[in-house]
Every structure is written in C-alpha cells, then in structure tokens.
Symmetry: C2
Subunit: 575 residues, 2 copies
C-alpha cells in the first residue's frame, strides 16, 4: 500500500485522538473480565487499582487458563523511538479483535522523561491506553509513593549516621542515594549535610531517578505484600567500617517504607482506545534494573485472558534478555512468542556510516542504508532465538516509508532470516492495522513448544561466567575486561552469599556495545565491567559498565517548555 | 465530672477507633449536601475530589446560605499538642449534632512530620476524619503533585542557568530551593551541580519541606485554575545580575507546573467518624506561609452548610493572625467566632519557672503552675479580641485533669476575662462531649456582628509599620529591630511594587517572642527581623526572624521506626 495519500491529511495528535474517544467507566469495562465492583479501588472513573484479594483470586483462575505470554521488544533504540509501546498496545487490541481474550501489561511513565525529551509514554495514535493525561502525569501515585519510601530510607539512614552512628556506618561506603522523579542533572552529584551540626553529617551524595531506585525493581518483582516487605528489609543501604552490609531492616525502615508502598503494589487497570483492559503498573529502568512492568500485573492478567502482551524496555539486548533471564526465572513464566519491533528508519539509522545524524534526514537515505542496517536487526533476531522462543518481526510502518523499503525488510526477514514478519499499522489504524501481525503471533504461539524455552545461563554459575555469557552471546563482545573494583566486588558478593542470582547488566542502550556511538552490530571489542553491586531486595547483581546514567538531565529546551493548561483544564503539549 | 474511673479502662487508639468505624461510601454521604455522582472524582470508596464545575455551583449557592465562619486556634504550642484538630473536628461534629448543617475544613497532613515526631494529623479519638490511614499517608497525592511541580521549576531553572544562562541569572541570588515531603536535615544545606559540566552549574542549594513551598501557599489561595496559573507565573525564582526578578514565567515553567497541579487544586472531601462531610485540603506552613487549608475548600463549604469550622496552624499569634490579616482579606471572608483551644497541661507548661521539662511530669505541678500559665492564655484572648470577633475558650479535657484544675480555668476565663468558656471532651466522647462548647459557639455567633470585624493593619501602610503593628500588638514586643538585609529588602520590595500587600511573619511557634525558650507571655524584648522576601504568587511579603526552619529533621528515634504493616495490609504505629 502506498501511504502517500495519507500524508496529505494531517494525522491528529495522540491527545486529539484520546480526547475524541468515549471511555467506558472502568468498573463496567472489566466486569466481563472477572472483576467486580468490590475488587476495585477507584481513581476517578476510568482508572482503578485491583485489590489484593482480587489478585489472589485471579492467580487461582490463571491455573485454568492457557496463559500465552507474548513479549514485545525492539531493535537498538534510535533517537525517535520505533513504537514499541504502540506495537504492544496495538497487538493487544488486535488479538482481541481476532477473538482471543488478551490482556496488555505495560510500564507506567516516569514524569522526569515526560518533561525532558520524551513526552508521553502511553502508546499513541489509534493504539494507546487511556486516560493518557492521567497516565502520563501523576497517575495513581505509585512513583510518588516510591519516591517517598526511597527518601524515607535515606533520611533514616542519615539520621542514624549523624545521631550517634551506633551501626558504625562508613560515611564513604553509603550505597543508598536519594531519589526524585524529575530529570535534574544538578542533583546527580551533590554534597549533603552542610550547615553545621544541625544539618547532619557532611558527605558526598546524589540523586537518581525514582525509576532507577531498587525499590522500583522490588515492587515489580514482589509476589504480595509479605514478599514485598521481606525484599525491602534485605536491601543494602550502606556498609559498616568492617565492610559488613547494613540493610533497610538494620535502620528500622522496613515497616514504614513498606507501609508507604501498600497501595503502589496494587496493579492499575485502564482501557485501550478500543475498550479492552490493560494493566499499567511499575516502571523500572532497563539498564540498572530489569525494565518490565510488575510481575503482580502479569500474574493477574493470566487470570483474566488467554493472552498477555507485555513489553520490555530498550532493545532486546537489555529488556528482553533481562525479561528472560531474570523476570521469567523469578516469576516462573515462559514466553510463547517474542515480537521484535523494527522500522525502516531505525534500520537506516543503524546502516549509515556517519553518526550521529539529523534524524529527520534519514528517510532520504534509501534502501542501501536500510540494508546496511540489517546487521542490527539480525543480531537481535539470533539473540532471541537462543532462548528457543518463536520470533516475529513487526515492521512498524511510518507514513513516509516507501513500498520498496518495506518490501526489502519483509523479504530479508522471510527469506534471509526465515522468521515470521509483518507490517504493522496499528498507530494509524488500531487493530485493523495489526491483523497480519496478530495472525503471525497466534500461529507462532500455536506452533511453539513452551518446553523448549531455556535461560541463557545457570544462576549458580560463577558471577564472572554469567557476565561473560551475556557479553559474548548477546552483546557480541569478544570477552569481558573487569576493571576498577569489579573483581573485588564479585569476591565480596560471593562471600556474602549473593553469588547464585541472575546478573542484571547495566549498559548503554544506544548500542549493543558499551560505546553509545557504535551502531549496527559492533564486533571486535571487549565489554568493560567496572563495578558490581547487589540489588539484594530485587534478587540480582548489577554489573556496571563505564557510565550508567541514573539521573537524566533536561535538554536546553525541555519538552516541558511547550506544555500548557488553560483555565478549563485542557492540556496541550503532552503527547 | 470525675474522670478517674475512665482512667482504669485503656482508651482505644485512634487507629483502633478508626478501624472499628463503619464508613459510608462518600457519594452517598455527600448527596444530601448537594453533591452528585458527577461532581466527584473518586479516590477509593471513601475519598473524593470535588470537580471544578461543582465548586462553581457551590459558590453560587453560598450566596444564599448564612455562611457562619468559626476559626479554631490555640495557645502557644507545647511539645505534645493540645488538640486543636481534635477540637476542630469535634466542634464540627457537635454543631451538626445540635442541628446546624456544618462543614469542617482542615489541612492535609504532611508526610515529613508524620514520620518525625508527630504521627498522624487527622484528629483523634472520637473526633477524627476518615479514612485516617489514607489521609495520613499519600492521601490524594496533592502534596506529591506540589513536590513535582516545585522540583520541575527548580530543574528548569538550573537547566536555564547551566545551558547558556540567557536570562543572566545570578548564581548567588537564586530564591528557589528544591522541595521534598520528608523530614531530612541532611538536605537543608547542600551543594548541587557537581561532577563536571554534565552535572550543571555548581552552586549552594538546599531543600525545604513541600508544605513550605510557595506553591503550597499559592494553591491554598487560588480561586480557580486560571487564578492558580497567574499566581504560579508571578512567583520569583531568582534575580538577574541587575537584581531584577526572574519569575516562573520567565523560565517557561508556568504551563507544566500548573498542569501538574490540576487535580491538586480540587478539594478533597472525606467523612468524620460521625458521618458528616469534611474537606481536607492543602497544608501550608504557618511560619513562612499562612497556615490554613485552601480557600477553595472554604468557599465550597459555604455552599454546603450554614457553618464552617476551620483551623489555623500553630498558636493564635501565627495561624489566627494570618487567617485574619491575610486569608480573610484575600478571600473576602469574615469570621463569626474564634475558638481558642487550651488545656490544663499546656497552661501548667507555660506557668513553670523552668523549661524545658519532661512533659509527662507536668501534671504533678498543680493549680499554682496552672495559674501562672494564665498569662499565655490571656494574651491570646486579648489579641483575638482586637479583631472584634467573639472569642470562646475551649478547655480540651484530658483524662488525668482534676476537677479543681478544670474549674480554675473556667473561673478565670469567665470571671477574670469575661469570655465564653467550655470544657470539651470531644476526644473521648465525640459530639456528646462537645455540647457545651457547641452551644457557646452558636450563642457567640448569634450575638456577634460581622460588621465589627477589622484587620489589624491597612495593607497600604509602609512595610515597616505593618511589621511593627504585628510585633507590638500581637507578640507583645516593645518594637522591631531590622537587621541584616531587612531594610534594603523592604526598599527593594517597595520599588518593585510589592509593598502594598499583607505581611506574613515567620517566627518560632514555641513562644510569643522570637526566642523559642521563652514561655508564658514574654515582655521587655524587641523583635529582630533579618530578611524580607516576596511571595509574589501568594500575594504577601514574608518577614523572617532569625532562623525560620523550613526543613525539619528526624529525631534520634523517629516515629517511623515504630510503624509497621503486616502481610494483610494492617498498619500499626500510625496515630
């Protein structure tokens, strides 16, 4: 199909489309999916949290359902994003449209990036979740609750340090920063505790984005309130002068921090633009954490429908790898298919010889650049195939893609790679634009065999071996160079009994490699690991490459500067 | 009545009482008060925000109602609190019980103090607002929204400073700190922007409690969304190298900051333990701001009932003075009666020769200390009488007060001061314990004359004169000594056109004087004003005495350490 005619008509903004959609009260919408009035804690008319007793019931029901799990992941990200959330929501809508009862589960947007460069993060066009304004702003307050709990722990730690320090906290070995859900580079590195005795103990400190807090990872992996509390208690916040870990429990913050997360643990249910239910819950970073929505939402979803479509952050080297090796392992889940989102422009971006380029000029670069970019796609496909899960490539079609470009991608996937591939026009056309993709996904799921799924590494392998496996098998590195404190850290972790857990790699998402400027599928390089630390509450080790940015900054002209609200409450600039 | 029998039975905790109360769904409860389903934005079953269109309707209705305004204030605070919120809620319940349609409006608790020494702040015993756990924790997220909006402004300001500084922001003249709703002394004074160029511009900075943000004051004084936006735009965040003010609007943060406050501006309605509606909305500090709940809640309340009982923060020298001179002036309201809350123990505390003392030993100190403490009460009474509003003293009776002590207070008020006085047992007995107080309030309102109400100063008077008036007429100072930059600040403010506004005094709440250790009614002293700055959005000038603490710390053993939650979600330690 030639979409040049469509180009003439301006496509309405996500906000316009959202505003024009008649929403159904959430209690009416979820009733056929097995949730009654008493199961819901309302936030306005169109959003609800699902209460814990209902989650328990849904989990029991899940055992009788098929429970097909479809993960949506993507190529190595480019500056504009290739439509992973759009595809997730659109595929969920499509599967329902094709007659399969399908739930969607995605992460909740973080305010910081919304005000930075990203704008909203609730899908877009005719594949979005509603009410988009609420979802993109404070939503049900989960991230605010995490910010409070995180900073309560920090305040209790500093109070303990400056008022007697009975735990012998080493002021130079504090592992717990403060957190804000705001892109604020001035808070990355700070000195706190100034102003004399009444200001506490002077020390270096800093802030991370709340999405990067270990509490976010913990919330998204916790099974229930009891499990959440145990995980919170275990979190390491500092080391004492003998290098022994000091936990949240040691500073007596377990109770109040968990209390602050009581409602945040309840998954949020909203609706897609086509009136099907969707969970939007939790949003851990996909670099220093595992990058997928809460397990509690996934588990509840299996009690509501036969399919669950969920999304992993960044490219498949980060989000999908962690979903398989960490989330599926901890949550005892098996993916039935993986959808890899690609686009003509992303392929061209990865195929260009010169980077960075002005992204808007890429579409002039034609089929040659596109084909040069296949190497990025190919590595993502072969990586995912290592887990023995069927892969479906979704080509997210943009209005100015030519038929020739689209056909080149389809031919390459089908003929060269031998994988299922489908154009997706869910942004423009909702479920009708996703029929081909949906049918491929259903056939992949039906043809697949759950028994064949396997993790990439054994969790009891030595820590260095687990890191090397991911580096060589997924990133395409020749090997791993451990620098800085990394080997000492690993020894200490193994001594402390934190060795037999999955490894969460913290690497730039801009490249398969640890160098953000290397596009395509770089080879002939070694991964450098400079530090390893435990996320004892989440239950994994974090292996850090060079600079893992946990507090983004605002650009010279932030997206916020173009946002506005009028006296009637109508919002502009949020999309 | 001799209450010694009651002492034998342990009084259930606020939490136990709250848990044992059967709540009514909020939409059923408010229906007879003129609010329908479409007027509400639910937060769970028992809390709702009132939508803007309903507020407009209630305001119109208010013109036909009597609109009796009763302000509850207190003596100079003591370490344990004398029950001002309890009395406010209890009096509201009582007036309903006596047949008057009465609304209550109080501030929403700030998390920081809840975790510090204060515990919950939703009243107590049989005079509290419910659901107390939600109200004391995240509630409807208003304070979180303010934290986000405040820190967005800070991040946009620092981004502007470090990325070109086209506004010539003077890095040493930045007036906007960051904010958190957490008692965290280590954040009082910090250095931010470290870590090289990617970390922004190094500079001194600090955090205040969100309740102390000018945005909180602005939210509580705004008439509607349009007015809120205009106030936000005017807020001064820094000065340029020519000492000209730089506003929120100059850094293009008006739109997104107001957008973040869209829902926070809608007042929250909940229920008392006796099933009457209450607004709980907004909570500005009563030292650097005006210390009362939102005007928008007050205005809506007058459209729902014939009486409104509301509360002002700290002692009458702070909260009530500001309510009269700032809030009533800006909101065009007239108080019909003031209730001054006192207690036997607070009087004894102010009457002792030695402070500080172990508070629990005070009850042994008897009638002599009590009578010595009358001087504090007397000054509060005579201060309030200057506004020509009838004063009713409420003696909040505690279980171990003796009849002799109680009678001494009653006799003193009635015979020596000639004011209405009533024992109040609303904590223990709800509205039945407040009948005497309620009847006195009704008779005071009916005997009073709104026309006689007057402000203490003219807002067009010179700034120094306004400050001197409050210092001498309310605090009992001999005069005012302007030190530091105060006189220069005042000159600059008058030049900038900020002279003709009310003055918001920032003084310790522990004493009438600016020395926290001076109890009773100190005389023979001068008030020292060291700095004056504009709250241009709120519409007042702030005059600072020595140390105005805007970021409290945690004590050695914070209240949080005794809070817990079990796996069923039941909370302990929050009361």
């Amino acid at each position: 199909m030639d979409s040049s005619d469509e180009q003439q008509e301006p496509i309405p903004t996500d906000y316009d489309i959202a505003q024009a959609t008649e929403m159904e009260p959430i209690w009416e919408l979820v009733e056929p999916w097995g949730l009654g009035l008493d199961d819901l804690q309302y936030h306005g008319e169109y959003t609800a949290k699902v209460k814990h007793h209902a989650i328990d019931r849904l989990r029991d029901r899940a055992e009788d359902n098929e429970g097909n799990l479809v993960l949506v992941t993507g190529m190595t990200p480019t500056p504009k994003g290739e439509g992973k959330t759009v595809t997730t929501v659109g595929l969920g809508q499509t599967l329902n449209h094709l007659g399969e009862d399908t739930m969607i589960a995605i992460r909740e947007p973080s305010l910081g990036p919304v005000f930075g460069v990203k704008g909203g993060a609730a899908g877009g066009g005719r594949s979005q979740v509603l009410p988009m304004e609420d979802i993109n702003l404070h939503f049900t307050g989960d991230i605010h609750a995490l910010t409070s709990a995180h900073n309560l722990i920090a305040a209790m730690l500093d109070a303990r340090l400056s008022q007697g320090n009975d735990l012998d906290i080493n002021v130079n070995d504090i592992a717990w920063k403060r957190a804000l859900d705001m892109n604020d580079r001035a808070l990355r590195e700070t000195v706190v505790g100034l102003g004399g005795e009444s200001g506490g103990t002077p020390r270096e400190g800093g802030f991370k984005l709340t999405a990067a807090s270990e509490l976010m990872a913990v919330l998204c992996l916790a099974e229930d309130l009891g499990d959440l509390k145990e995980r919170v208690a275990r979190i390491i916040v500092a080391y004492d002068t003998d290098s022994e870990p000091i936990t949240v429990d040691d500073i007596e913050a377990t109770g109040p921090a968990t209390m602050l997360l009581r409602d945040a643990l309840k998954p949020n249910i909203v609706q897609t633009i086509e009136g099907t239910p969707a969970f939007v819950h939790g949003g851990p970073f996909a670099n220093i954490a595992h990058g997928t929505n809460s397990l509690i939402a996934d588990k509840a979803a299996f009690g509501m429908g036969d399919y669950l479509v969920t999304e992993a952050g960044f490219g498949s080297d980060l989000g999908a790898e962690k979903f398989m090796n960490i989330v599926c392992r901890l949550g005892e889940m098996t993916p039935n298919a993986v959808v890899l989102v690609s686009s003509v422009r992303a392929l061209q971006y990865h195929g260009l010889e010169q980077w960075p380029v002005d992204y808007d000029e890429i579409d002039e670069s034609g089929v040659d650049a596109l084909e040069a970019g296949f190497e990025n796609l190919d590595r993502h496909v072969s990586n995912l195939q290592q887990f023995n899960v069927p892969v479906v490539v979704a080509l997210n079609r943009f209005p100015d893609d030519t038929d020739e470009e689209v056909q080149a991608v389809v031919d390459h996937c089908r003929d060269d790679l031998g994988v299922r591939v489908a154009e997706s026009e869910v942004f423009e056309n909702g479920s009708e634009g996703g029929e081909a993709l949906g049918e491929h996904v259903i056939s992949a799921v039906e043809a697949g065999d759950e028994e064949e799924f396997e993790y990439l590494y054994d969790k009891t392998a030595p820590v260095t071996e687990k890191i090397e496996t991911v580096a060589t098998e997924i990133y395409g590195a020749d090997g791993v160079k451990f620098t800085g404190s990394a080997l000492d850290d690993i020894e200490r972790m193994e001594e402390l009994g934190f060795g037999d857990v999955p490894v969460c790699m913290s690497k730039t998402f801009h490249s398969f490699s640890d160098d953000a400027s290397r596009k395509g599928a770089p080879s002939g390089w070694e991964l450098e690991i400079s530090e390893v630390y435990p996320s004892a509450g989440a239950g994994f080790l974090v292996a850090l490459t060079a600079d893992a940015l946990t507090m983004p900054g605002l650009p010279a002209r932030p997206a916020a500067a173009d946002m506005d609200i009028d006296e009637d409450g109508d919002i502009t600039g949020l999309f």
